[in-house]
Amino acid sequence: MSGRSFPIVSGRRIVAIVALVLAAAYTLYAWRELGFGRWHRPGAAIFPIAVGIMIAIAAISVLLERKQTSDELHGAAFTLPGGTDLRRLGLVLGAFAIYFVAMELVGHLIASALFLFVAMATLSDKSKLRLAIYAVAIAVTFEVVFVRLLKVQMPYGLTRLF
């Protein structure tokens, strides 16, 4: 697997800083926008403020973790994909996100067939025709099983017109 290694403790600290910022925003929102009530009739702000403080404490705990303890318990490094691995992951996730948008436009059947084809073509070097046949067959099977038999409501998009 081609990729780059980073110290886990640094990654965890970045997550902790982001969590700290979000905790501050989350608590500030509760403080400003929600009712406090009284001790005997607590309002909607009390619990979120407590949770915000808890996130901040947890984030500070992560920031204060000693490198040696963290390395012993979590491992010293983590790997992020690079090169072809990153490209493959990015292409599949990109196609996945486009699939969500396409679903509302062209309906689930067509969007899932297109997504299946792109994802399979990204993950395999088999003939495109064969993959297209697989994609259509799987999409139709899903449509029959989930939408027709199990009555799961999926977006129809423009196919509603036909």
């Binding site: 619990f47 973790e65 993950l123 999926m154």
Partner: protein
């Protein structure tokens, strides 16, 4: 109705054709989910959750339970044949299981595992039957302060014992609690953190979060790792499935030890199945006559942990059925299914919906028999599932995750939540943060807030009310003891490591 009468009644409920079919479908789908990498038990149950809404509540819960213990069975198959655990509770199984497979005992090991899982699951149901009924009777007396102690204290215990540093669980748990505050608040009707998005007014849906954290995140790891796709299992023939007399003889005590240990772990909040399998492995190393072989391909190394993780998974039904409190992500999904079906989980379930309470317990007996019948003769089918190329099943699972996430509320917004949760799960996996406390925090958060506010309301704002009742005091003492023991054990291990390093220098 005593426990025995309840079981007879439950068997009557579980043996109806619709419920038998639900148990079979759940066990079958669960085994497939456990065998296939990428979809663990939690994501599998989450995906099936929306489909159970159209079923009768009892049948829906029976199917979910079937998927749960089916995937526990199935997870060990990849651990033994490919050295790739299908789920975290099978990590230990891979150590000796894979070594046994390399010695040509793959078939016999799979049989020992299947029978061990059956023994663990079936004996644990006896405990569930007795404990749940008794605990439910006591739990009727619990007040809001007691439930607050149980839910919040339970979450703290879970955060302590989930693995890694305390912060590795505490941070995801607090994020889960924060997600639970989004939407319309139950007491005053105020909307919180919706920022004008109408979809958020109903709150954050559990299914896209769980499928994203456990399913999509795992699929992303499989997509980036091409070496993983190259693994192919060896074939297993029917003749190879029969263990020899020595293997049977050595497995029996390990099964029984694993079952007892697993049941005790299942009663404690946290990743009971995983922890119990590790504890059972250590127990086998300590007490087995063949301890020197453990780690190099000993049958005790798979028999004990597999019985333990199935026993623990079954025992986790006790707090769910008796108290209505979920301490595992799967239990959280089952509670969520009950709420959608209009069934109120909690101590009154046994009297108000005995068909669900006893039907579910009885179905675990039946499901375990079905799993034994499914796993041993059909091992060839499960092995062939492992031969499905990644380029086919990864995109199929991605589409399935979208159908599962969308169908709960017919909302595109939930699919974007799925993607967001998947990315978060991917990052948390890489950085060794725990995911289970986040899911349990999300589902328990609104309950904790409700009990907190009820206690303050009923006590006219007296904070002392949280530690007034004997039940709340007992729970807090137990929570404090578990947290303290965990801290001392970790400190002792750290001191021992430091001393060992010093003596090496």
């Amino acid at each position: 109705m005593n426990a025995f009468e309840g079981l007879i009644y439950g068997l009557g409920v579980a043996m109806t054709p619709a419920n038998l079919l639900a148990a079979f479908a759940g066990a079958f789908a669960g085994t497939a989910i456990g065998v296939l990498p990428g979809l663990g038990p939690v994501a599998g149950v989450a995906l099936i959750l929306p489909l159970t809404f159209s079923l009768d509540p009892t049948a829906g819960l029976i199917m979910m339970a079937g998927i749960f213990y089916g995937s526990m069975y199935g997870g060990s198959t990849t651990a033994i044949l490919l050295n790739i655990p299908g789920e975290s509770a099978s990590v230990v199984t891979a150590i000796d299981g894979y070594q046994l497979a390399r010695k040509g005992r793959a078939g016999a090991t799979l049989t020992i595992v299947a029978v061990g899982s059956f023994v663990g699951g079936t004996l644990a149901v006896v405990g569930v039957m007795l404990f749940s009924a008794a605990l439910a009777k006591v739990a009727i007396l619990f007040g809001p302060a007691d439930f607050f102690a149980l839910t919040f204290g339970g979450l703290m215990v879970m955060a302590r014992i989930s693995g890694g540093t305390l912060a590795s669980s505490l941070l995801p748990m607090a994020v889960g609690l924060a997600l639970g505050t989004i939407g319309q608040e139950a007491v005053t009707g105020e909307t919180r953190y919706t920022f004008g998005f109408l979809h958020l007014a109903e709150g954050v849906s559990l299914v896209p979060i769980v499928v994203g954290l456990y399913g999509l995140a795992e699929l992303m790891l499989l997509i980036e790792d091409k070496l993983h796709a190259a693994a192919r299992p060896q074939s297993v023939t029917m003749r190879e499935l029969l263990p020899n007399r020595e293997e049977w003889r050595r497995a029996v005590p390990s099964w029984l030890r694993g079952t007892g240990l697993g049941f005790l772990f299942g009663l404690v909040p946290g990743p009971a199945a995983t922890l119990s399998s590790f504890a059972s492995y250590r127990l086998e190393k300590a007490v087995s006559k063949h301890a020197d072989q453990i780690g190099h391909g000993a049958i005790e190394g798979v028999a004990g942990p597999e019985a333990a993780n199935n026993s623990a998974a079954t025992a986790a039904l006790v707090p769910l059925l008796a108290l209505g409190i979920p301490f595992t992500p799967i239990a959280a999904l089952m509670i969520s299914a009950m709420l959608v079906q209009g069934v109120q989980p909690g101590p009154l379930l046994i009297t108000q919906k005995p068909e669900i309470f006893w039907g579910l317990i009885a179905s675990v007996y039946i499901g375990n028999v079905m799993l034994l019948a499914l796993n041993i003769p059909m091992i060839g089918v499960w092995v062939s599932l492992l031969r499905i190329p990644h380029y086919l099943f990864l995109p199929v699972l991605l589409v399935l995750s979208v159908i599962g996430a969308y169908s709960v509320r017919n909302s595109i917004f939930d699919i974007w939540m799925l993607l967001g949760a998947g990315l978060l799960g991917y990052i948390f996996n890489k950085l060794r943060f725990q995911l289970a406390p986040m899911v349990v925090g999300l589902i328990l958060g609104p309950n904790i807030e409700k009990h907190l506010r009820e206690t303050l309301f009923l006590s006219q704002g007296d904070v002392g009310a949280f530690v007034e009742s004997p039940i709340a005091i007992t729970v807090w003492i137990l929570v404090a003891a578990i947290l303290l023991i965990g801290y001392l054990a970790r400190r002792r291990a750290a001191v021992a490591t430091a001393m060992a390093q010093e003596s090496n220098v």
